[in-house]
Symmetry: C2
Subunit: 304 residues, 2 copies
Amino acid sequence: MEKFEVNILGCGSALPTTRHYPSSQVVNIREKLFMIDCGEGSQTQLRRSRLKFSRLNHIFISHLHGDHCFGLIGLLSTFGLLGRTASMHIYSPAELETLLQPQLDFFCKGIDYKVVFHPFDTNVSSLIYKDRSVSIHTIPLQHRIACCGFLFREKPTPNHIIRDMIDFYDIPTFAINAIKNGEDYTLPDGTVIPNSRLTCPSAPPRSYAYCSDTIYLPRLADTVRGVDLLYHEATFANSESARAKETFHTTAAQAAQLAKDGAVKRLLIGHYSARYEDESTLLKEAREIFPETIAAKENLCIAL
Amino acid sequence: MEKFEVNILGCGSALPTTRHYPSSQVVNIREKLFMIDCGEGSQTQLRRSRLKFSRLNHIFISHLHGDHCFGLIGLLSTFGLLGRTASMHIYSPAELETLLQPQLDFFCKGIDYKVVFHPFDTNVSSLIYKDRSVSIHTIPLQHRIACCGFLFREKPTPNHIIRDMIDFYDIPTFAINAIKNGEDYTLPDGTVIPNSRLTCPSAPPRSYAYCSDTIYLPRLADTVRGVDLLYHEATFANSESARAKETFHTTAAQAAQLAKDGAVKRLLIGHYSARYEDESTLLKEAREIFPETIAAKENLCIAL
C-alpha cells in the first residue's frame, strides 16, 4: 500500500516543557510531506525524524498562537541556508503574511526560494490543496482566535487489474486503462466480460483529520465521520473541564466522545497541558469512551 | 565567594543540529541572571537549567542573525503566559525593536509586563548596564552584520574586616564602614592603626568576556586582557580557515591565540559549525596554543 503516515514532531501546548515540543506534525503521503503547524523547535524535530527536507513543500498553520507557528522563521531560514530553491507554500489565516514577511525580508535576505502565502478563510470549509493523490480541506474550529483544522483525503485509486484474466481473454494493452477505470470488455466475438471478472477493488482511500485548537464541537462528528485517523486536541483531563471550556480547549473525554460519534477508526490525542507530568490520565479518560485511542508523543509515526 | 557562573544553554551555530542548540548563555551573578543571545529553543534550555525565570530581567543580543535571536519571541511569550509582571530589558542592535515589536503586539497582547528595548551602537564600546555588583560594556566585533560582544566586570568589593582586631582595639560599630573602605583608625589616645592591620583584601573582582560572532580580531587581546573567562566563537577548524575569513568567523586556533595574547585565565570555545560531528578537533587545535581551553556544551555551568 502507498505510504500515508503521520509523524508527530511535537504535541505539547502553549507552555513548552522539557518533555514536549509545541505542536507540529508531518503527514507523509507517498513521500510528499505536508507539515501541520510549526511550533518552536520544529526544525530540530524534523531533522531528528530523518524525513527529507526537500520533500516538504507545503506547510499548514491552523492558527496564529505562538505554539503553532513560532518555529516557522527558523525553519524557513534554515532551508535558505541549505540552498533550497523550490517554492514553499504556506496555508494559514491571513495575518501570518503580515507578521512573517518583514522577518523573512530581514533574516532571509538573499535566499534562493520563494515563500508563497495562501491565506484561507477560517469561517468556512474550503478546498485549499489538491494533487493527483490527495485533497485537503479546512475544518473551521472554534478557539480564542481564528482557527482551522485540516482534513486530508486520499483520492480513490483505480481497481487492480487481475493479470491472469487479461492473459486468459488475450486483452490488448491499449484496453487496460479503460478496464482499470471500471469499464467492461467486449471480446471480438461480441461477448461482454463484466469488469468485476477482470479487476479487484483497490484499497479504499484513506483520510486523516487534524483538529487543534478548539472547544468541544459535537458537530465535528459529521465532518470527520469515518476517517482512518482523527487527531484531536485533548488539552485537559475531566477535572479541568471548566477550564477547558473557558480557554476554548477540549478534554480527552470530549475528544473521545467526538471520535465515537463520528465513528472514526482511531483517535490520536495531543496538545497536552503542561500541568500533566505524563499523559496516562488523559489517555485513560479517552479510552474509557473510545478504546481505539493513541496518545501522541514526539517522534511517533503512525501508518494509516 | 559570591556566585559568578556562566551557564551554556546552546553553543551551535547557524544550522541547528540534533546535538546543539543555537547560541544562548545565562550569566548568573549573585542570583541575578543575564541572558546573552537567545536562539530558537533557548526557553526550553532555560527550563532545563532550573535557573529561576523570575531572576532574569536583562537579555543581551549580540547581533541579529536568527541563531542568536529567534528564541526571543517564544521566551517572552512564555513569560507572559506565566504571569510575569517585572519589566524585561533587552539590549541589542537597534533594528530588533522594529522586528520584534509587531510580533509582541500580535502574539503577546495583554501580557502584564513591559519589554523595554535598549539599543546600542555596535561601532563603539559603551557601558550598557551597571548595578552595584557588575558593569557590562559592549565589545564591537566584526561580522557580516552589526555585532557586539559583552564584557562583564564585577565591581571591586570592600576589604574584609578582621574581626579579632576590631575586638582587640575595641573599635565601635559606626567606624566599621570607613575601615572597610580603606581608612585607618585612630584610637582615643591618638595612635593610628593602619588599615592593613584591620582588614584583609577581598577576592579580586572577576570578569567575563563574550565574543561571538566575529572574524579573528587580534586587537581584541587588549580588550579582554586578563579576564577570568573568555568565551570566543570557534566556528571552524584550521582546515577551514579560508572559509572562516570569508564568512567573518574565527577558527579554534585563532580564538586560542587571542586568549594567549590577552593572557586570559581560561578560554571557552563554542558556536561550532554543524559540519563537525564532535568538537574534539576544535578543542585539540585550541589547546595546542592555549591549554586552558574548555569546549562549551549544552547544560555546562562554569564557575568563575
